[in-house]
Symmetry: C2
């Protein structure tokens, strides 16, 4: 369950970066709640102030950060939407979102967006770690492991080709613009080439596969088992791109 990842009593972002104690849980959290400060929906170990810290602290609407971007989605989802009824599909998505949330939060990422069967996570903001790409890869492996058995069991009765089902993941790393876009419908998210390439890599990842960009791969000290180097054609890119399948 997702709550296993939500354990911090103090907001880790405020504490690690500003040494300000913001109480997230327990009776002492009540006064903070009064002022609208509560655990972030994107990562329950940080607070809502933290989510917007770049606005408050830096007085800017968007900042550039070095980050790792992870996209995960359910392979064969289009087929599933045609085969499953609404209740079964809702149950599958509930499970998928929860397992993604748990895995991402355990590795200090931010679950930024979920749209349909696709999940976007950011690593290295606002919780900073030099090894943010390794953490994203660990989260991806965790998502795969958590979903594998459940998906097999849940989907066994539909007469589908099981080799086409599973979770596909794309990961890229680099300078990313993080901020609020739009003036009325403001939306806190990451944009730019890194986000786009992670999304494109995810779209060509097979079931149960994690595809890393070359940049992301190079920052990893080691990988066990060794990955497979591959040239992939990504939509919008003229030349083939190097990807590493883990």
């Amino acid at each position: 369950m997702a709550h296993e990842a939500a354990t911090a009593k103090l907001c880790r972002g405020c504490w690690e970066q500003m040494h300000v104690p913001i109480v997230l849980r327990g009776p002492l959290a009540a006064p903070y709640r009064l002022f609208g400060v509560r655990p972030s929906r994107m990562n329950p170990n940080i607070c809502t102030v933290c989510e917007k810290m770049f606005e408050l602290v830096m007085r800017r609407r968007a900042i550039e950060i070095e980050a790792t971007i992870l996209f995960a989605d359910i392979r064969g989802y289009t087929t599933l939407t045609q085969a499953m009824d609404a209740t079964a599909l809702s149950r599958l998505l509930n499970f998928f979102y929860d397992e993604c949330a748990t895995a991402i939060w355990l590795h200090d990422g931010l679950l930024n967006k979920a749209i349909g069967d696709s999940v976007l996570a950011i690593f290295n903001f606002p919780l900073r770690h030099a090894d943010h790409t390794a953490r994203a890869l660990a989260a991806a492996r965790d998502i795969q492991a958590r979903c594998h058995e459940h998906c097999r069991r849940e989907l066994a009765g539909y007469g589908l080709d099981m080799s086409e089902l599973g979770v596909g993941v794309g990961i890229d790393r680099g300078t990313t613009t993080f901020g609020e876009f739009g003036t009325t419908h403001t939306d806190l998210t990451a944009v730019g080439q890194v986000v786009n390439r992670a999304s494109r890599l995810q779209s060509v990842a097979g079931p149960g596969e994690i595809l890393l960009s070359e940049t992301a791969w190079r920052t990893l000290a080691s990988a066990d088992p060794p990955p497979e180097r591959r040239e992939v054609m990504l939509k919008g890119y003229e030349a083939p791109q190097i990807a590493y399948a883990c």
Copy 2:
């Protein structure tokens, strides 16, 4: 600007469906704000209670609604992320989100999600209209018209192939599951085959093109100019699908 669509003094959802007056703007709105009732970020003419009305009124986490789903995105966005710097890309996305919001709200839709260059809107919830597909089509045309000139001007200096730039739209209609998914990272959204097909149609729409599914097209009384009937291959569908290009 997006605020041109945000004019209702009373929440239109609460008024039209329950005849309850919820004040959204002006001094009388203050007591409502105290209790956290404010204009919805997804449509400023309805309130945050309205957004969750199905939960409060119906005591369920998800409901099935007859709705029209619209996806819009920027064609050539991958190329743009490679050509533009962060500031220019942020400016383009700000503009795009705002124009989409205005067009969607003017036609009583809900701007449910924005991820990267992609926008998801829902028509017929919570503001109900028998002609929700016609409204979605009108919103799509509005988005195209608003973005066309701006994009040409903004992107002229990048040496890009202008025929590949523009907004692509996909529209489908049918029974859709709308609700909150995930237990910790709860997310209010629409899921199911209709949402998926709208997304797939959008991904094959050309720049400046609106692709409607056959179901969506059949509910429209008339269209001017007459659309072009086309067979398209959509990812995850074995047989070609009929689409109407407007």
